[in-house]
């Protein structure tokens, strides 16, 4: 190692500290600015009408995005319903039954690849499969596209959380004569349930902010989502079309919707963190 004087090393260290501090400040400032913009412009759009009325055409005031809020809840809920049981069971297989098998290794690789698929590709795939073939855009197709994104995340987190459960617990249960499925359900899953819930909540949070998969599947609608077999209103596609429009009142509503999604995602993530803390 080259010999450098203590003084020069100290000066260099001080210099690097300044650089670090200012770079950190710059980055943090930019991010804080974004947050502040969302909050200020978004909160300005919040009004009772925003939460309860249907959209009005440009130029007609008093519109809201109540249908889009309901639509997002329904589509995300349906996606969760599809992906959570399947993801949980697949994760259970990987953690409990498939630790050594080659099949499990292949499934693990497939899960990793699926996690890396860009969300817009998921939308393209589901459009080809469900929209072009059935003849119309639908909330179902949107839910399937979101479920496709959630699935590998849930599989991975389930496997990770279950692997954290000590083998001794399983062996104790089996030694008592409990059938394997009950060991898994009542001992393993139960002791990992906080981590599992966190994984599920994080997957849901991530997916509720996605726009690209819904662009070609559930499209959008100015009406209440009465049946999901139709183009279904949702917040993210609404934000996309409203934000790109020149109409001021639509742009304001886009910020409001953006803030709403942010709050929802943050609330969900916070719940997840609280669960994990309470472990």
């Amino acid at each position: 190692m080259k010999r450098r004087s203590v003084a020069s090393r100290r000066i260099f260290d001080l210099g690097m500290r300044l650089v670090a501090g200012s770079a950190a400040a710059a980055g943090i400032l930019a991010l804080a600015w974004i947050l502040a913009t969302v909050v200020s412009r978004g909160a300005a759009a919040f009004s009772p009408a925003f939460f309860t009325h249907l959209p009005t055409p440009p130029g007609v005031s008093g519109g809201g995005l109540a249908n889009a809020m309901l639509g997002t809840l329904l589509i995300t809920g349906l996606a969760a319903l599809c992906s959570i049981p399947m993801g949980l069971l697949a994760g259970v297989y990987l953690a409990e039954f498939g630790r050594e098998s080659r099949f499990a290794a292949v499934v693990r690789m497939a899960t990793n690849i699926l996690m890396g698929v860009p969300s817009i590709i998921s939308g393209v795939f589901v459009y080809t499969l469900l929209v072009a073939t059935t003849g119309h855009f639908s909330g179902y197709a949107g839910a399937v596209a979101l479920a496709l994104i959630m699935l590998p995340v849930i599989v991975r987190t389930t496997e990770d959380m279950l692997l954290l459960v000590p083998g001794a617990l399983r062996e104790a249960g089996l030694a008592l004569g409990t059938p394997r499925w009950r060991v898994t359900r009542d001992i393993v899953l139960r002791s990992a349930r906080k981590g599992l819930l966190t994984g599920v909540l994080l997957a849901v949070a991530r997916v509720s902010g996605e726009t690209a998969p819904l662009l070609f599947t559930s499209l959008n609608s100015p009406y209440w989502p009465e049946r999901l077999g139709q183009p279904t209103a949702n917040l993210t596609v609404t934000i996309f079309s409203y934000a790109m429009s020149p109409f001021r009142d639509w742009q304001a509503q886009a910020w409001g919707a953006a803030m709403l999604i942010t709050l929802g995602v943050l609330a969900t993530s916070l719940c997840a963190r609280l669960f994990i803390r309470g472990k």
Binding site: T56, P57, P58, G59, V60, L74, G77, L78, L81, V131, A132, T134, G135, H136, F137, S138, G139, Y140, L219, N220, S221, P222, Y223, P225, E226, R227, L228, G229, Q230, P231, S241, M244, S245, P246, F247
Partner: protein, 347 residues
């Protein structure tokens, strides 16, 4: 926790209990051109208030409208680029006009009011070809002697999606500029020599609104609704005209609707002292063979309402409604062409 999740599952399943994924009979779905979107959305709104029938129109561009109606994913498509009779027959579609409007160039130049800038056809083409690159170009200055043009680069804004507005605009440029004809041509999406792309009329208007030194082209209602500065164009008769409902009407006055199969008329570069050179009609496309007769009739009833009762709303947004004679021609076409199970749907 268990009860809550069971309840929410029941709620979701219950709400999505249109188990058969058939579309809701009460909502008519349409998609397509952003050109007529301002008036279609207002008509749908008014119609729902009067009759309770819902109409969901999504502005995705004329290209999208044609694709979706051919794929039968919507009940009707809307396009400003008229399909020729052969294409209509091949796809089994019926086409008819709903409104006439104008495509106007819009600019964003600080301190320069709407209608101040004057452009000749070749200047417009050269700007969009990227040959005239700056606002203080001598050719521009020659036509606009009294205007204080800034020393800035021109930023061209065009459409990034498949657009009937583009079709009308490029159709006009194709007619007036041989270089445009050779280099670019007419279509809903072309290989633009210069500029930035915006999605929909909305996207172009938004870009022009936000950035200085831009020039784009939008349907007139977008320029008015968003207070964008328009330009005057020199028409075929050699006169400079600003865009207005009167200038669109003048251009549409000489149209021969009866003699054109499929109503696929082009209204650009028309004669007349007061004619706006880039006028165009916006069309609706429906399938000839309708699976659901009641649904088809409900859809045609809506269009009939718009054609007969929507004129006031259309004119407020500076769209020209089709004249009364055309309405009768259109409905005669419905009667003869739109069928379900062998029987006519209309009246």
């Amino acid at each position: 926790m268990k009860k809550l999740s069971a309840l929410s599952v029941a709620l979701i399943v219950g709400l999505s209990a249109g188990v058969v994924s058939a579309a809701d009979p009460a909502t008519i779905n349409g998609a397509g051109a952003s050109f007529p979107f301002p008036i279609y959305s207002q008509w749908a709104y008014k119609y729902e208030q009067t009759t309770g029938v819902k109409l969901n129109y999504q502005s995705i561009g004329s290209g999208g409208g044609i694709t979706q109606i051919k794929a039968k994913t919507v009940d009707f498509g809307a396009s400003d680029a008229p399909l020729k009779a052969e294409e209509l027959n091949l796809a089994g579609l019926v086409q008819f006009p709903m409104v006439i409007g104008g495509v106007v160039p819009v600019v964003n130049l600080q301190g320069i009011a709407s209608g101040k800038i004057q452009l000749t056809p070749s200047l417009l083409a050269d700007i969009f070809l990227g040959k005239v690159k700056r606002w203080d170009d001598p050719a521009l200055k020659a036509e606009n002697a009294g205007v204080n043009l800034p020393a800035k680069e021109i930023v061209v804004v065009h459409r990034s999606d498949g657009s009937g507005t583009t079709w009308i605009f490029t159709n006009y440029l194709d007619k007036v500029s041989p270089e445009w004809h050779g280099k670019v041509g007419t279509d809903k999406a072309v290989s633009w020599p210069a500029g930035v792309g915006g999605k929909g009329n909305e996207g172009v208007a938004a870009f022009v609104q936000q950035a200085e030194g831009t020039i784009g082209y939008v349907e007139y209602a977008y320029a008015v609704q968003n207070k964008l500065a328009t330009v005057q164009l020199r028409n075929r008769a050699g006169k400079y005209v600003p865009p207005s409902i009167a200038s669109f009407q003048a251009a549409a006055a000489g149209a021969d609707w009866k003699g054109t199969p499929g109503f696929s008329l082009v209204l650009t570069d028309q004669m007349g002292d007061g004619s706006w050179p880039i006028t165009g009609a916006s069309f609706i496309l429906v399938q000839k063979e309708q699976g659901d007769g009641a649904r088809a009739r409900a859809m045609l009833t809506f269009f009939d309402w718009c054609l007969r009762n929507g004129a006031a709303q259309a004119e407020k947004l500076d769209y020209v409604p089709p004249p009364a004679g055309v309405i009768d021609l259109v409905e005669a076409t419905w009667k003869s062409e739109v069928r379900t199970a062998g029987k006519a749907v209309w009246p």
